[in-house]
C-alpha cells in the first residue's frame, strides 16, 4: 500500500507542484501546499477512491491547501516566481513573435478571482475534464463550464495578455 502510494506520489508530483505554483504566487508556499496535500491524501486514503478517481481528489486537496496558504500569505508581500523573463511565449500566427511573457500570464492569473483561477489551471494545465474539475472543486460540471467561459472572457480582456496574437483564424469567432 505504501509503495503504491510512493510510486503515485513520484508520478504526480511535478504536475501537482506546478499546479500549486500557478495557483500561488510564492514558490515556497507552493511546495508546502503540495506537501501538505499529499500528506492529507495519505491520511485519508481510505476515503479516496483509487485509480482514475484519485487524480480529481488529489487536485481537490491541492486546491484546498492552496486556498488555505493563499489566505495565510495574503498578508505577506507577493513574490512573483522567478522566471526567465526573456523566455517568450510561442509565436503567434504568421510567425509573429508574441510579446506576452510568462510573467504576464502569471499576472493575468493572479488577477482572476480564486474560483476562476482554479478552473482555468485545472482544465488547461492539468487537463482534467469538466466532471473531474467538478469533483475537485465540489461543483457541478455545468458550473464548471460557466466558470470557464467567464474566466476566458476575463482573460481575453486582461491588459497583461493584450499582446497575445491568436494562432488560428477560428479563435476570433468564439466570443
Amino acid at each position: 500500500m505504501a509503495d503504491e502510494f510512493d510510486e503515485w506520489v513520484r508520478a504526480s508530483y511535478p504536475v501537482a507542484y506546478r499546479t500549486a505554483a500557478l495557483l500561488l504566487p510564492n514558490p515556497a508556499d507552493a511546495q508546502e501546499a503540495v506537501q501538505e496535500a499529499f500528506l492529507r491524501i495519505w491520511r485519508f486514503r481510505d476515503a479516496i477512491p483509487s485509480g482514475d478517481g484519485r487524480r480529481a481528489w488529489l487536485y481537490r486537496v491541492v486546491v484546498n491547501t492552496c486556498h488555505s496558504r493563499g489566505r495565510a500569505a495574503a498578508a505577506r508581500p507577493k513574490v512573483v516566481a522567478e522566471l526567465d523573463p526573456e523566455r517568450p511565449l510561442p509565436t503567434g500566427a504568421d510567425g509573429e513573435e508574441s510579446i506576452v511573457r510568462a510573467t504576464d500570464v502569471r499576472r493575468a492569473l493572479e488577477a482572476l478571482p480564486e474560483h476562476l483561477r482554479a478552473v482555468v489551471v485545472l482544465t488547461y494545465y492539468v487537463g482534467l475534464v469538466d466532471r473531474e474539475v467538478g469533483v475537485a472543486l465540489g461543483k457541478r460540471p455545468g458550473t464548471i463550464r460557466a466558470r470557464l467561459l467567464e474566466a476566458r472572457r476575463r482573460l481575453a480582456a486582461d491588459p497583461h495578455l493584450a499582446g497575445w496574437a491568436p494562432t488560428a483564424p477560428e479563435a476570433s469567432n468564439d466570443l
Binding site: A2, D6, V9, R10, Y13, P14, Y17, R18, A21, L22, Q31, Q35, F38, L39, R40, W42, R43, F44, D46, A47, I48, P49, S50, G53, A56, V61, N64, H67, A81, L83, D84, R87, L89, P90, V100, A102, V105, L109, V120, V121, Y124, Y125, G127, R131, G134, V135, G138, R140, R152, R153, L155, A156, L161, W164, P166, T167, A168, A171, D174, L175
Partner: protein
C-alpha cells in the same frame, strides 16, 4: 476570446518555468512514514467503494448530510415541542395573590370616632356644623393612627347557574362585616357574570377574601394599599391653622368700628371659611377611603363546563371528547411556534449547508 488551445499553451509554458524542488518528493515520503494515521470522523462515511459519479451527482446527499439533516430536524422538532409545551394554554386556574397589606388594626387610639371632623385630628372649638358624618355604626370601632387606603380585586369562579346567588351572598358578606355594597351588576347571557363592589371597614378587609373563598374558586386576587397618613395629618394641620385664623378674625370683628372695617373682616372670614370647608371635604374623602376598604369582586363562570361525577361510559366519553378537543387546541396552538422554528431552520439551512461544505474542504 482566447482559444482553449492557446490557453493550454500559455499555461504549459508558464508552468514549465517553475521547476519542482528536487527534494520535494522525498520530504513527502519521509513525512508519510513518520505520520501516524488518523481517522477523522468525516472520512468514515466515504469508503473506497463509492463511485465518483454517485458522489458528485448531488453532493449533499452523502451520508454525512443525512446525519446533519436529521440533527437539524431533531433540533427543530425538539425546539418546537419545547416551545409548544411552554406556551400551553392554561386550562387550570392559577391564583396569583400579592401580599395584602395588613390593616393597622391595632387599636392604639382611645377616642371614639363619631364625626368626620374629629376623625382627622383634634376637635376645634367653635367650629361650624360638620358635614354629614360617616355611618354612625363605626363609632365603636377602635380608632387607628395610621390611615391606609386599601383596595382589592377578586375574581371568583362559580357555576353558571349560581352567579346571582354568589352576588347576593357577597352582599351579605359585606353587610355582615359592617360594610355595604357600593354597586353590583350582573349579566345574564350564555355565560353569566357579575361585578360587585363592596365597602367594608379596613379592619375587616382580610375577612372579605376569606369569606369570598367559601363561595367559589378564587382564580385571581390582588390588593393594593396606599398609606395616606401623611396626607391626613397635613390636612388636619392646615384645617387647624385656618380655624385659628378664622377665630382671630372673629375676634377682630368685635373690635371693628366702621362699616367698612366690618365688611372687610367679614369678607376675610368667609374666605377662610370656604377654604376650611374645601379641606374638610378632602379630609372626609380620605377618611372614608381609609376607613372603608374597597373590594371589587368579579364573578365569572368557567369557560368550559365541567361535567362532574358522571359515571360510566357517558362520563368517560365526555371526558374523551374534552381531551380530544383540548389536545387539538394544544396542537393548533403549538403549531405556531413549531412552524416558526421550521421556518427559521429552513432559512438557516442554506448557510448551514455552505458551512458544512467548507468544513468538508478544510478537513480533506
Amino acid at each position: 476570446m482566447i482559444s482553449e488551445d492557446d490557453l493550454r499553451r500559455m499555461l504549459a509554458i508558464t508552468a514549465a518555468g517553475t521547476d519542482p524542488p528536487d527534494d520535494g518528493v522525498e520530504r513527502i515520503l519521509l513525512a508519510r512514514e513518520a505520520d501516524v494515521p488518523r481517522r477523522g470522523w468525516l472520512s468514515r462515511g466515504r469508503r473506497a467503494g463509492h463511485t465518483d459519479r454517485g458522489r458528485q451527482r448531488a453532493g449533499w446527499r452523502q451520508p454525512r448530510w443525512a446525519i446533519a439533516g436529521l440533527a437539524l430536524v431533531a433540533v427543530v422538532l425538539g425546539g418546537g415541542v419545547g416551545i409548544g409545551l411552554l406556551s400551553a394554554p392554561e386550562d387550570s386556574a392559577s391564583t396569583s395573590s400579592t401580599a395584602v397589606a395588613p390593616p393597622s388594626s391595632d387599636s392604639t387610639g382611645t377616642a371614639p370616632r363619631s364625626t368626620a371632623e374629629s376623625s382627622v385630628g383634634s376637635s376645634v372649638p367653635g367650629a361650624p356644623a360638620p358635614a354629614p358624618p360617616l355611618p354612625g355604626r363605626f363609632s365603636d370601632l377602635p380608632a387607628t393612627d395610621a390611615r391606609v387606603v386599601q383596595t382589592g380585586q377578586i375574581t371568583l369562579q362559580v357555576d353558571p347557574d349560581r352567579v346571582p346567588e354568589a352576588v347576593d351572598r357577597l352582599g351579605a358578606i359585606a353587610t355582615g362585616l359592617r360594610g355595604y355594597v357600593a354597586s353590583s351588576s350582573t349579566t345574564d347571557s350564555s355565560s353569566p357574570s357579575g361585578t360587585v363592589m363592596l365597602r367594608v371597614p379596613s379592619a375587616a378587609y382580610p375577612q372579605v377574601l376569606a369569606q369570598a373563598r367559601g363561595l367559589g374558586q378564587v382564580t385571581r386576587s390582588s390588593s393594593d394599599s396606599e398609606d395616606v397618613t401623611s396626607q391626613v395629618v397635613d390636612l388636619s394641620a392646615r384645617i387647624k391653622t385656618l380655624q385659628d385664623t378664622r377665630t382671630s378674625y372673629q375676634a377682630l370683628l368685635g373690635r371693628a368700628g366702621t362699616v367698612d372695617e366690618i365688611l372687610q373682616v367679614q369678607q376675610q372670614i368667609s374666605d377662610v371659611q370656604s377654604e376650611i370647608e374645601q379641606l374638610q371635604g378632602r379630609a372626609r374623602v380620605l377618611a372614608d377611603q381609609a376607613d372603608l376598604a374597597t373590594v371589587s369582586v368579579t364573578v365569572t363562570t368557567p369557560s368550559s363546563p365541567r361535567v362532574e361525577d358522571e359515571d360510566g361510559f357517558a362520563g368517560a366519553w365526555d371526558r374523551a371528547l374534552d381531551g380530544f378537543a383540548d389536545g387539538l387546541q394544544w396542537l393548533i396552538a403549538a403549531s405556531g411556534p413549531v412552524l416558526l422554528v421550521v421556518l427559521i431552520g429552513a432559512v438557516l439551512f442554506w448557510p448551514a449547508r455552505r458551512l458544512l461544505r467548507l468544513l468538508e474542504r478544510r478537513i480533506i
